[in-house]
Symmetry: C2
Subunit: 280 residues, 2 copies
């Protein structure tokens, strides 16, 4: 299996802190040694860094832990190969252009029979079942919507159906984005939290590091982090129920139900929630 990390924020924010926690799992506190990758959206552009080497030993990963790239949408992945060799082209996130936007996709899990699904527009470059699933999903979106639908909820509902369909083939924890929305589909395991006022000091689980977000932020910042497994020890993480799509925009989560209904989820300071739990 692999580990996923995503961020959705209402102001460009660096992900150095959470990324530092994640990369430890690529060879130190976790077995995910088969490469890693990260996508940062900046405006309409998207910067990606990939390395087929373990994140804990990667010089590029080291640079990204100290070099602050600010973004409102980030997707990262560290890989433990189950399907497809350890090569650069099999390293997530994958990317394709649709409607003049960059779509990025990272997957944790294993799918049965996805490669038998025929593809039309997009072709995999590597050999993973993940990239095939991504191409199949974008093919379907493109076919249904040659131009972007007017209401974003129309797209969300359609994507929810596609994600459920692939989920039927196995384990399909996914982070996906077009640069505006961050789509988080939980198949077996995924949690999120929001950092917003009141901020506080937060400590990583995987390595000795603490950051006081009070000093790094302004009172209106809303920064939501999504991860396979909680990365911090003194914040409350919200698990996503298996088989559920949550869409994040500007840090705000909306649950998209299979019956087409939408529910905006309330956000609150994860560190304050933890303190309240502890004292209460």
């Amino acid at each position: 299996m692999c580990e996923l990390l995503g961020m959705s924020a209402n102001v460009p924010t660096d992900i150095c802190f959470s990324f530092t926690g994640l990369v430890q799992r690529g060879g130190v506190t976790g077995p995910h040694r088969d490469g890693w990758g990260i996508a940062f959206y900046e405006g309409r552009g998207c910067r990606m860094f990939h390395d087929p080497r373990p994140s804990a030993e990667s010089e590029i990963a080291r640079l990204l832990q100290r070099y602050s790239i600010k973004s409102c949408n980030v997707i990262s992945h560290i890989r433990q190969a189950t399907h497809g060799k350890v090569t650069l082209e099999n390293t997530h996130p994958f990317r394709r252009e649709l409607w003049g936007r960059v779509w990025a996709f990272a997957h944790n899990g294993k799918l049965k029979g996805i490669k038998r699904r025929p593809l039309k527009f997009y072709r995999p470059i590597g050999t993973t079942d993940s990239e095939h699933a991504f191409c199949w999903i974008l093919d379907a979106v493109r076919e249904r919507f040659p131009t972007p639908p007017k209401r974003r909820e129309t797209l969300w509902r359609f994507l929810e159906g596609l994600l459920q369909e692939v989920h039927g083939l196995g384990t399909f924890n996914v982070l996906m984005s077009d640069g505006r929305d961050l789509f988080a589909f939980c198949s077996t395991k995924m949690s999120w939290l929001t950092r917003c006022a009141p901020f506080g000091a937060v400590a990583l689980t995987d390595t000795e590091m603490e950051v006081d977000f009070e000093r790094e932020t302004t009172p209106n910042d809303v920064v939501t982090v999504i991860a396979t497994q909680p990365l911090t020890s003194n914040e409350v993480w919200n698990p996503i129920a298996p088989g559920t799509l949550v869409v994040f925009r500007d840090g705000q989560p909306t649950e998209v139900r299979s019956d087409g209904r939408m529910e905006s989820l309330a956000v609150c300071s994860a560190v304050e929630a933890y303190e309240r739990q502890r004292s209460g």
Copy 2:
């Protein structure tokens, strides 16, 4: 205008030396301050690094000057914006997938009226005339060859026609690759050289740096470097005639003529050629 740098080699080779020369032109010895980018093919995969900041001041560019990424196909670009704002999405090289391969494209020059050409499959993400030209070319290739043609020369001839057509709209110096072939189209200015046995010590024009390739190579290595302007002072560079496409594979150049004929160009050690010129 911008500067281009490409490499085609028969063994995975790092481009640290030539890249070090190029980045000086992004703010030190040259005015190309509006971002830079580089694409390294590794197997079927392609790693790209982009930065909208000047290359001479970029921390990522600094990493790449010492961090050896070995590749048989590299395309790099430093930008002096003529068309389109200085943003990440306007930073070359651009990339798209066709036939399950990554295509990369970088352009130096200015085109008139290219944006009036309708696009079908690929859409620009940024606002440059360059990316529009790239999308138009790939659209045409995809339309003509839904699957890759059996003989690579068939593709080369078709591409030559497309490149000539865009060249008719202005200045169109281009480096483009599908990971196997490196297509170098000269509109106004482009030169190449080959590093092969006998190797020797080579000095950069733009900064004090010398490398003895004798120590870094094996006798069978063939490494061809293509650049807008020569990067070294003691090697013979071969200019490409304006309006000409040269295709490089494994470091070996082939000129593709407009009448459909092909000519394999002879390669020889650029540093030996220089010594011979000097002494003769």
